[in-house]
Structures are given as C-alpha cells and as structure tokens.
C-alpha cells in the first residue's frame, strides 16, 4: 500500500518504536522563544544534561516584546527578565539567537521560513502551537510543551504517538476578495475546533496548488484551531522557488541532493487516509468569527446562527455570545469596531500587508478606530518599506509598529481593552486572548482593511479596491 506524504516524513524520522507506546521521533529543527524555554533550560541544568545538537535549535524573542521603541530597554521587568534568560541560555549552550533588534528577529513562524530554516521533509517543533505553519513546506511541524522543549534540547527527540491522517481537498477557484485566511476559517467552521483532534492534515486540491507559500502558511498555521496536530502541503515548484537562495537553504550540490529527497514528498496515489474531506473553493466567502473559538465563523454576509444549529451545547454557546455581546440571528455587517489588528504568524507576512494596502489605498483610516499594523519580522518590515506599501499606509492615515506577536496573545502592552471589539488577522478569539475582556473577530487582512477604513464590519467586496 502506498504512503501518504505524512507517513514518508514521519517514518524517515522514527529512531525507535516503543512497544505499547509512542514513537521516538528525531527532530531536525527546533525553534525556541523566550516564553516556553526558560523552564526547559532550568530542567536541563538540574539534570546536568547538555544540548545535544545546538546548531539545530534557533532562538528568537517575539512573544513578550514591545512593538514600539524596541531600541530602548524593555520596561516590564518580568518581560525583560525572560528576554535576558533567553540571551543567557542560548549563549551558554551555543544556540543561535536573534534577539530583539537583530535584523533577522521576528515571530518564530515567520522567520523560520523566510530564512530557509523551514524545509520540505523536515521535522520541526517549537513550544508554540502554531508551529503547524511550517507544514506549508511539506514538513511535519507541530507545537510542543516545555517538557518536550527540554527533551529536544537534550536529546533532539520527542516521544509521540503517530497521529491519524486526514486529507482535506479544496477544489475549484477562490472568488475575488477571498483569501487563504478565509479558506482556513471556512474549513474550521465546517470541522469545529475539535474536528481534527488526533489527526495530521494534508491539504490538497487546486486551491492549494494555486496558492502562494504565504497563503499555504496561513492555512497550515490555523490547523491547530480545529484540533489537528498539524497540517501540510506537498512541496512543489512554488515551494522550491520560495526556498531557493535563502540564508539556510541548501546551496550547490546540497541543493541537488535535497531536491532528490524533496521530489519524493507527495502522497502516493494509492495511499490511505483515515479521513477524507472535500470542499468547493468557489463557495467560500470572506469569513468572520462571531464567538469565542475559531470554529465559530460564518460568511461575512450570513447571520449569527441559532443555538440549535451549532455544535456547542446551549450553555456553552450562550456563554460565548454573552461574552461577545451578540445575539442569535444578528447580522455581522455593520457592527461597530474599535480596534483592528493586522499581524501574527497567521497574517503578518508581506502578502498580508499587500492585501491590506490594496484596499486602503486612496482611502482614509476611520477616525474612531485604533489600528495596529505589526509586521511579522524585520524582513517583512523592510519589504513593506521597499515595496512602497508604507507610503500607501501613511497616506491613508496608518502607522506601522515593530515586529512581534503583539496583540495575538497580548502578553506585552498591546492589549485590546475590556469590552472593545477588534477585527484581528490573528488566530484565536478566545475569551481574553487579546486582553482581559477583549472581544475578537477573526478575519482576513482584507476584512481587516475594510473595518479599518469604515469603523464597522464591512464586506470588502463592497469597497472598490484601487
């Protein structure tokens, strides 16, 4: 029987199968950041262990960093302490560290791909659930806990039961104004937040074949929001073109050798999946969420459903709508918005800022909206300037902040105030995710742009793009 893409990469990395237990999986690349690594380093120290392959781990500061005045000392003493711990730990163990202000610094899942660290057929882990982003390259990439960070530091392996396999095929062509984020929110709305728990997903079909690497990253990023360990897309010419020439990409003979492996990375025709789902891409609308988990999304012109028509139990559903201040049957379009956040490892890449700029060009920021535009990395920030996007943004009344996770998890000062509504291009609308009491509506950069210029939930297709 044929193998799936997932099987091929997984099986290549199994050091050992434990009888009645998980597989010992070798990890090619390990990404760490300041929040989930300090306790792992402490564990390492107390065991007297060393870092087995320091060159396979890459560190960045992103979760807990300010997005203004990055050249000044970090004001919050606890945050500063975490940043210092990362700096000291990486120095002690010889790990590459792109700290605050470094020209390659940025969100961990943005800098991996843009520096060629992320490669097809690799196993990649990080103490952050959106590690699934890297699956866009045909890698097996998933989030881990701090105990596992310690395992990878000390042994370059973790113990994992092999997940089941699901293939999600989206055929057809996306309509104008529909972005990869909408595809992700649509799929999650169909599967619910737990619909893919226990599975690793492969995305296939013409919609993904035509999608850019940035778009594939957005969709793979959100895989975790339906419970999946990760998502992946088979590498193709789009993938190879993206990787070529980046800092850590293979060069010369190594490239040719890598290509031989990479070309094998696709599911065989007779490969079996434990579950297969197919959707029609042409049916997808710009999406928006109305509730407190990413599965609570609808087409922007649809009404909020009634309790009978959702998967949640009534009490859970009511609690969610109560938190959001919404009612069953209401229309999303026209709802007043206080904040707009464009950024995160979901939609903080250059393509997202291009999309945002394409809509706001020649328009003006709405007066009563606060807009935070946060590039995913310094590389993205530079691209925004170089492509003239910053000029468009400035003319429309927007400013750009400095790279970091920012309001995606609101660990720094970028918190949406209690009770306020934010259209966010990030990945989670959980209660309090963007600040205690904050109310988050997840959407694409285009829907965010439409909200930024109108101050309301607005279907971007009703605004002419310049």
């Amino acid at each position: 029987m044929g193998k799936t893409l997932f099987d091929k990469v997984w099986d290549t990395h199994v050091v050992h199968r434990i009888e009645g237990g998980p597989d010992v999986l070798f990890i090619d690349r390990h990404l760490i950041h300041e929040v989930t690594s300090p306790v792992a380093f402490r564990g390492l120290k107390s065991r007297g262990a060393r870092v087995l392959y320091p060159e396979r781990t890459f560190a960045t500061a992103d979760h807990n960093t300010p997005t203004i005045n990055q050249d000044k000392p970090v004001a919050d003493p606890l945050s500063a302490n975490q940043l210092r711990a990362l700096e000291e730990n990486t120095a002690e163990y010889g790990i590459r560290h792109w700290g605050l202000g470094h020209h390659r610094n940025g969100i961990v899942h943005v800098i991996g791909p843009e520096n060629g660290i992320t490669q097809p057929g690799a196993t990649i882990v990080c103490g952050d659930s959106h590690t699934s982003t890297h699956g866009a390259f045909g890698a097996i990439a998933f989030g881990i806990g701090t105990s596992e960070v310690e395992m990878v530091l000390s042994t370059q392996c973790i113990l994992q039961p092999k997940p089941k396999k699901m293939r999600i095929t989206v055929n057809g062509t996306l309509s104008p104004g529909v972005l990869p984020k909408d595809v992700a929110l649509y799929i999650i709305s169909q599967l619910t937040t737990s619909g893919a728990t226990g599975y690793f997903v492969e995305y296939a079909g013409s919609v993904f074949e035509q999608m850019s690497m940035e778009g594939r990253m957005t969709v793979c990023n959100m895989s975790i929001e339906m419970g999946a360990r990760g998502g992946m897309v088979a590498p193709d010419q789009t993938t190879f073109d993206y990787i070529k020439g980046r800092e850590f990409s293979p060069k010369g003979e190594d490239w040719d050798k890598a290509m031989v492996y990479w070309e094998t990375l696709k599911s065989d025709d007779d490969a079996q999946f434990d579950k297969e789902l197919t959707f029609d891409g042409s049916k997808i609308e710009p999406m928006i969420t109305y509730g407190t988990n990413p599965g609570m999304g609808i087409g922007i012109t649809s009404d909020i459903p009634d309790a009978e028509h959702v998967e949640e139990a009534k009490a859970t559903f009511d609690k969610s709508l109560g938190y959001m201040g919404f009612n069953e049957g209401e229309t999303m379009v026209g709802k007043k918005i206080d904040y707009v956040f464009v950024g995160s490892c979901t939609n903080g890449r250059i393509e997202d800022f291009r999309a945002f700029a394409s809509l706001v060009k020649g328009k003006q920021k709405a007066d009563d909206v606060t807009v935070w535009l946060v590039p995913g990395s310094h590389v993205v920030e530079r691209q925004i300037r170089e492509e003239g996007i910053l000029d468009i943004l400035t003319e429309a009344g927007f400013t750009l902040r400095q790279p970091g996770c920012s309001a995606c998890l609101a660990m720094n000062d970028d918190k949406i105030p209690a009770g306020k509504y934010a259209v966010s291009t990030s990945n989670r609308n959980f209660e309090g995710r963007q600040g205690p009491g904050a109310r988050t509506l997840l959407a694409s950069p285009l829907v965010a742009a439409a909200a930024a210029v109108t101050g309301k939930v607005t279907d971007p297709r009703t605004l002419t793009q310049q």
């Binding site: 290549t12 990395h13 050091v15 050992h16 434990i18 009888e19 009645g20 237990g21 010992v24 070798f26 090619d28 929040v35 989930t36 300090p38 306790v39 564990g43 087995l52 392959y53 807990n64 606890l78 302490n81 975490q82 490669q119 057929g121 690799a122 103490g127 952050d128 659930s129 590690t131 998933f142 881990i144 806990g145 701090t146 105990s147 596992e148 310690e150 395992m151 000390s154 042994t155 973790i158 997940p163 937040t193 737990s194 728990t197 226990g198 419970g227 890598a258 988990n293 949640e312 009490a315 998890l409 609101a410 660990m411 209690a418 989670r428 959980f430 209660e431 309090g432 205690p436 009491g437």
Partner: protein
C-alpha cells in the same frame, strides 16, 4: 523522579461543565512571564475566577467551597488552543492530579502526562453521570484507578474504563518522565542522526 507517582486516586471532584475550555482560560498569557515553574496555581482560571479588581467571582466553581478535591471534571474538548505547558502546571500546582473529560486536545493531554496530571477520557454519557452525581452530592467520591484503568463513581458503583498507553501508564505509576528514557538511548539517537536525508 520528575513528579509524584500515580496509582489509585480517591477524591471528591470539582465540576466545570463547559465545553472547549482552552488553555488561555486555564492560564492567561499575561501570567506566563515567569522563568521558573512556581506559583501558577494562583492564576489557574484567573479571569473566570477573579474580577478585574482581583475580588473572587462568587459564581465560579473554584470559589465555591461546596466543591473541592483533586479531580477536575471538564466539558468536551478540554485544553484546546495554546501549547503552553503552564496550563498543566497551573492545574497540578493548584492541587489537581487528574482531569476527567469526554475529549481532550492533543497537546494538552501530552503536557499533562509529561508532568504527572492524569487525563482521563470517558464517554459523554459517563461524563454526564459524573456531573449528575457530583451535583446531587458534592461529597461524592470518584476512584481513579490507574493500574486497572478504571474510574468509578463510588456512591453508585458505576464504573468505566479508560485508555492509556502501557508506556505512559508505567511512567505515571513510577513517576518517570520521557527525558530519563531518551537520555538512556542517546547513543542510538546519535547513530540515527547520521542516516538522515537532510
């Protein structure tokens, strides 16, 4: 030994019949700034448990003295969202040793097993029975028997078995963690690394 070993736990339970309890609720991001594993229990369910002025919310179950114990019983899809192990630490640190639900998110389940909190997945019907029994009488004890892989509502004698891999079961029963295991096979790992395509 990384944590206390787990064999048979007999305890009253704290009911939290909400679905999709995500790890941002279990421990909000702003409490993740520590560099040591200390004090996370104080902020377990912080925003459900306390008002913005830090006064306790009377209607939240952890603030209700009626319900106590080492077992937390949650609704379906418990622990979704962020991979933060801090969520499992907060649960352990608060004093829970076991979480029962009809469905767990993957990373959370792994994190729990790695730090000595036993995630016990039961059927939706049995979960209802537990909630009913605990609400009918908050002194109802549950017996979580890891060697037998069963959970029993002691007041009614109703019992259900649960799954756990034999590897994780023996780790939990002995208080061993995966790192001990992996460090023991380090030379195999180094040999293996030489054979990789990348």
């Amino acid at each position: 030994m990384a944590y206390d070993s787990f064999n048979i736990l007999t305890s009253t339970a704290v009911p939290l019949p909400i679905e999709n309890v995500d790890t941002d609720q279990i421990i909000p991001a702003r409490f993740l700034k520590a560099t040591e594993r200390k004090g996370f229990g104080d902020n377990l369910f912080r925003d459900w448990r306390y008002n913005p002025d830090n006064t306790p919310k009377a209607d939240f179950v952890l603030n209700d003295p009626t319900y106590t114990g080492k077992i937390l019983v949650g609704g379906k899809n418990f622990g979704s969202g962020s991979s933060r192990e801090h969520a499992a630490w907060a649960i352990y640190d608060y004093g829970f040793r076991c979480v029962i639900s009809s469905f767990f998110a993957d990373i959370f389940r792994n994190n729990c097993l790695n730090i000595g909190v036993l995630p016990v997945q039961v059927s939706a019907a049995f979960l209802e029975k537990i909630f009913d029994a605990v609400y009918a009488d908050p002194t109802t004890e549950l017996e979580v028997n890891l060697p037998e892989q069963t959970v029993t509502i002691l007041s009614t004698g109703e019992k259900e078995s649960f799954n756990i891999t034999s590897y994780k079961k023996s780790n939990m029963m002995n208080g061993f963690d995966d790192i001990d295991y992996l460090l023991n096979i380090k030379s195999d790992i180094q040999e293996f690394a030489k054979t990789l395509p990348l």
